[in-house]
Amino acid sequence: MNIGEHARSALWLGVSFLIFIASLSGAYALFQTSARINEQTYHLTASTDPNIHSTLKIDNPYTCTGAEVRQTIHQIDSLQVDIMVNGTLYPKDLDPDEVDVSSIELDQKYTPAYIRNTEGQLVMLRFT
């Protein structure tokens, strides 16, 4: 091997090394960019999720106020089901403007129960 070949080989090695370093730098930059995009996307997806501000609470028994019960009875013609409040039946065909609902205490809490038929349709609304 003469001195010219040594020089050529050294030059090739130098050029290869430079290309390798340049590729490595480029790859590193590319990796950094895609990693940043990834992180940003995850962040964006998480921030647009409307459920991150959840309002989960302990399941309390469902109760209605007397006011709700009275107004529900007044809308009985659109409900099209009988309503029973503490044993008193309000049939679905009653005249809502003439009904006497004074026995329903405004400040009392009532627990509603939905009575359904075998199709799952509501047939009676019961407040106790």
């Binding site: 090695l13 989960l56 106020t65 009275r70 107004q71 007044h74 939905y114 799952g120």
Partner: protein, 284 residues
């Protein structure tokens, strides 16, 4: 170690990192695509449901001349349309098992009517074979009820029409706020701003509380059926609530659909601007 071997080792290490990065990118890309598809699906289904709300159900019940917002709603048609559009978009239209699975990701559907709202929610009931069935059923119509400090009770609507039971003589008074303000003798009716604030707060609170209760109950019951996802009431901005209660419409919730390493959660409002046209056609 020769320099070439060193380079090979370095490239192998980098390759591992790049492959990992590529998987993450691909995961994100798929998630975004699916999310866009799901958003479209739920938006379309809700809009379709809102359109179906005004499907004529009974001709004598159609004419409600008091208010342009007082449209007679067909909630059954709206729910059917919502689920049909969802099944079509999720490609389970001919797959009852897929439909059942998709249903379980929809904890509640709220139909907002003129003088009350309905919840289409999961509930247990006994079917004709005597078995307990757990599926979507309708709640009764729930009025937007408010009680003031004088014990007068109000049933609000999506506009100024109100039904009051006066505490003084227990008489029912109904009409538009402006028209009955003098006759009713109820202080809240004399202040338009306070009336509107009370009306909006009552409607939003009623729907919000009911939704919370319904979703929490669904969580408790669905756990028994093997659902591991915890459903929550999403945060809905005040602007969205204001839009929701402007007109009759549909509010749909879809939660818990697996989306790569995440879950899909969204809600959609449909039916804004749903009101009767303000003209009459003259027939010859």
């Amino acid at each position: 170690m020769k320099i070439t071997s060193f380079a090979v080792v370095l490239v192998l290490i980098l390759l591992f990192i790049f492959v990992r990065n590529h998987i993450d990118l691909e995961d994100n890309r798929t998630n975004l695509l699916l999310q866009t598809r799901y958003n479209r699906a739920i938006d379309t289904a809700t809009q379709d449901a809102a359109q179906a709300l005004i499907t004529n159900v009974s001709q004598p019940l159609e004419s409600q001349y008091q208010s342009a917002k007082n449209v007679r709603i067909n909630k059954e048609q709206a729910a059917d349309t919502f689920f049909q559009t969802m099944y079509m978009n999720f490609n389970v239209i001919h797959d009852p098992t897929g439909q059942y699975v998709l249903n379980s990701y929809i904890p509640a559907l709220v139909v907002i009517g003129y003088d009350g709202y309905y919840m289409y929610q999961f509930e247990e009931y006994r079917n004709a074979r005597g078995e307990t069935e757990f599926r979507h059923v309708w709640s009764p119509k729930k009025p937007y009820v408010y009680k003031d400090q004088h014990n007068n009770t109000y049933s609000f609507t999506l506009d100024d029409y109100v039904t009051i039971q006066r505490s003084a003589d227990e008489k029912w008074v109904k009409g538009f706020r402006e028209e009955i303000a003098n006759e009713a003798g109820v202080p809240l009716l004399e202040d338009a701003a306070a009336f509107d604030a009370a009306r909006r707060t009552t409607i939003v609170n009623a729907i919000q509380n009911d939704l919370e209760r319904s979703i929490n109950r669904y969580n408790v019951t669905s756990k028994r059926y093997g659902t591991s996802y915890t459903f929550t009431v999403p945060y809905i901005s005040q602007e969205d609530w204001n839009n929701t209660i402007n007109d009759a419409g549909v509010l749909a919730f879809v939660q818990g659909i697996p989306l790569g390493s995440q879950y899909y959660n969204n809600y959609a409002l449909g039916g804004r601007g749903l009101s009767k046209k303000k003209y009459f056609r003259e027939y010859m």
